[in-house]
Structures are given as structure tokens and as C-alpha cells.
């Protein structure tokens, strides 16, 4: 039988029993958010696949809609969302440099950008409704387009809406100084917001341009 030379050896003790260091927590949170975004990729792919099928099978319907609508409004909207993504990353940068006031300004601009985008989307939906493109089934020639267009864009719009709410929450907490030492909360929101931006980059090209 083996002799126990060190049978009561304690493992390397952590400084703080049972609690994770801030860095470990940040690592966990980041991996968690990335995994969440991974699952979002799959949901968005299901939302968009119906549209892609339509684009391939019935190109005329899509081309007709493109002509009616033009790309002016949606391009402006795209710029707004891209800019908001830039504001977001600048906000995180400001907080990492210890500039709380700067962070609040940049994140405020992000929330504003998201709101403007949603207003733009509302205007666009109104125009489309005016053209007779609606979500549900109708007798019109647009019937096959409506649901396949609204499902992915509205799902994205809902994500922007959630993002704006989240931005306001980040502002509230940021104003209390909760991110002064550890801006992970801003970084998590940033990951979400940039992801929503990336989705829009793909949707914009797939739906409005191709």
C-alpha cells in the first residue's frame, strides 16, 4: 500500500474563498455573451432563409418592390446604425480611459442612433403598408413578400429596441459610477449592439441591395 506522504495537503488556496476574481468573472460573462450571440446567429438565419428562397424563386416580386421603395431611406438608416456602433465603441473606450462623462455622451448618442433607426424603420413600414405590402396573407401580388420581409426586419428591429432600453440602463448605471472600475457591463452591451449592427449589415445587403 502506498504511503501517504502528503495526505492532508490542501490545494493552493485562493485569496478569497469561493469567490471569483473580477477578471475570471469578466471572462465568464464575455464567453456567455458570445455563446448567446451564437444562438442568435442561428435564429436570424432561420428568419432570413424564407426571404432568400423568395429572392431566388420569384425575383420579379422583389425587383418590383425595390423599384417602388428606392434605397434612399434605408441607406440613411444604415448609416445611422453604423454610426451608433461607432459611438458605442467610443463610449467603451472613454470608460476604459476613465472618462465617465465622455462615456455617457457616447452611449447617449448610441441610444439616440438606435431610436432614429427605429423611427426610420417605422416610416419605411408605413410606406410599405401604403403600397399594400402587409404581414399577413392577402390577395395582392405582394402576399409572398410581406411576411418574408417583415419577419427578419421586425425581428431585427425588436433587437434594436431592446438595445435602446439596455443603453438607457447602461447610462443609468454609468451615471452612478458603477462602471468606473470594471466596464464589463458596457462591454457586454457593446457586444450585443455590434452584433445587432452586423446582422443589419447582412440584412441590408441581402434584402435591399442584392
Amino acid at each position: 500500500m502506498a504511503e501517504l506522504t502528503a495526505n492532508q495537503l490542501h490545494a493552493v488556496a485562493h485569496d478569497d474563498h469561493g469567490h471569483l476574481s473580477e477578471e475570471e468573472k469578466n471572462d465568464n460573462l464575455k464567453l456567455g455573451v458570445w455563446l448567446y450571440l451564437a444562438s442568435e446567429i442561428v435564429i436570424f438565419s432561420i428568419m432570413i432563409v424564407g426571404y432568400i428562397l423568395l429572392r431566388i424563386n420569384e425575383p420579379d416580386v422583389v425587383a418590383h418592390a425595390h423599384e417602388q421603395l428606392g434605397v434612399g431611406l434605408v441607406t440613411a438608416n444604415t448609416f445611422v446604425l453604423l454610426a451608433s456602433s461607432y459611438f458605442m465603441v467610443m463610449g467603451l473606450r472613454a470608460m476604459q480611459q476613465g472618462n465617465r462623462a465622455g462615456m455617457l455622451r457616447w452611449i447617449g448618442a448610441t441610444a439616440l442612433g438606435g431610436t432614429v433607426f427605429l423611427i426610420g424603420q417605422y416610416i419605411e413600414y408605413s410606406e410599405l403598408a401604403h403600397l399594400g405590402i402587409v404581414l399577413g396573407y392577402s390577395e395582392s401580388q405582394w402576399s409572398t413578400l410581406g411576411m418574408r420581409f417583415y419577419a427578419p426586419t421586425f425581428f431585427h428591429g425588436a433587437h434594436v429596441f431592446v438595445g435602446v432600453i439596455w443603453a438607457l440602463e447602461v447610462l443609468r448605471r454609468g451615471a452612478q459610477g458603477r462602471y468606473d472600475h470594471n466596464p464589463i457591463g458596457i462591454e457586454m452591451f457593446g457586444l450585443y449592439w455590434h452584433f445587432v449592427d452586423v446582422v443589419w449589415i447582412m440584412l441590408f445587403t441581402l434584402i435591399y441591395l442584392v
Binding site: A38, V42, V49, V71, L82, Y86, R93, H194, F204, T205
Partner: protein, 127 residues
């Protein structure tokens, strides 16, 4: 495309960016450069889409080829834009490779399923 100089501590905090062999100093550093890049790419995208749409309209005989070129070109630009946001704004360049796997795995699986779904003939199978 853009690479921040790393002599000032955290590279995302530097205002100086080395781009195509030149040093550019701008407020916001690499983030600003990436944003300008995104904006330029978007303009190129919209303009080429509009141009190609006209070309397809004018030359119906070459429509299929032009349409294919248009799709590949625009999707290529979109993927570059998405990549820029992920690489710089979402800080993938600073992260562990594990996060890249987390990103690529669902893309692979989603692409697999979409490719298959695209193979469904128009109007279903009952032809």
C-alpha cells in the same frame, strides 16, 4: 486594413494608426479609421448596386451573369464590413481563439442548413 501602433499601452486607446504604411493620427484611433472604412464600403455598395441594377435593366441578355456578379460583389463587401465590426469593435482580435470558434460554429451550422433549404425546388417537391 488598419493596425494600431502598440507603443501606447492598450492599442485601442492610441490615437495613432498605421494604415497602408502611413501613420494617421485621429481622435478615436483605430475605431475612427474603421468607421470611415465602413462608411466608404457602404457607399461603394449602394452605388455599385444601383449601377448594376441599371446595367441589368439595359442588357437583358447578360442579366443572369450581371446578377451573379452583383450578388457575389455585394455579399463580399457585406462580409468584409461584418468582419471589420467583429474584429475591431467586438474586439475579437484581442480575445482567446475559443471565441472565434464560438462564432464560427453556428455560422457553419446555419450555412449548412440554409444551403440545404435553398435546394428545395420552387413550389415544393410536388412538381
Amino acid at each position: 486594413m488598419a493596425e494600431a501602433t502598440r507603443d501606447e499601452g492598450h492599442h485601442s486607446h492610441s490615437n495613432t494608426v498605421r494604415l497602408l504604411g502611413r501613420e494617421i493620427t485621429v481622435e478615436g484611433g483605430v475605431y475612427t479609421v474603421v468607421f470611415v472604412g465602413l462608411a466608404i464600403l457602404t457607399v461603394i455598395e449602394v452605388l455599385s448596386a444601383e449601377y448594376l441594377k441599371g446595367a441589368i435593366h439595359d442588357a437583358p441578355s447578360a442579366a443572369a451573369t450581371l446578377q451573379a456578379i452583383k450578388a457575389v460583389l455585394l455579399l463580399g463587401i457585406a462580409i468584409i464590413k461584418a468582419g471589420l465590426v467583429i474584429w475591431f469593435y467586438m474586439h475579437l482580435r484581442d480575445e482567446k481563439p475559443l471565441l472565434a470558434v464560438v462564432l464560427l460554429l453556428p455560422l457553419l451550422i446555419a450555412t449548412l442548413s440554409i444551403m440545404y433549404l435553398l435546394a428545395i425546388p420552387p413550389g415544393g417537391y410536388a412538381l
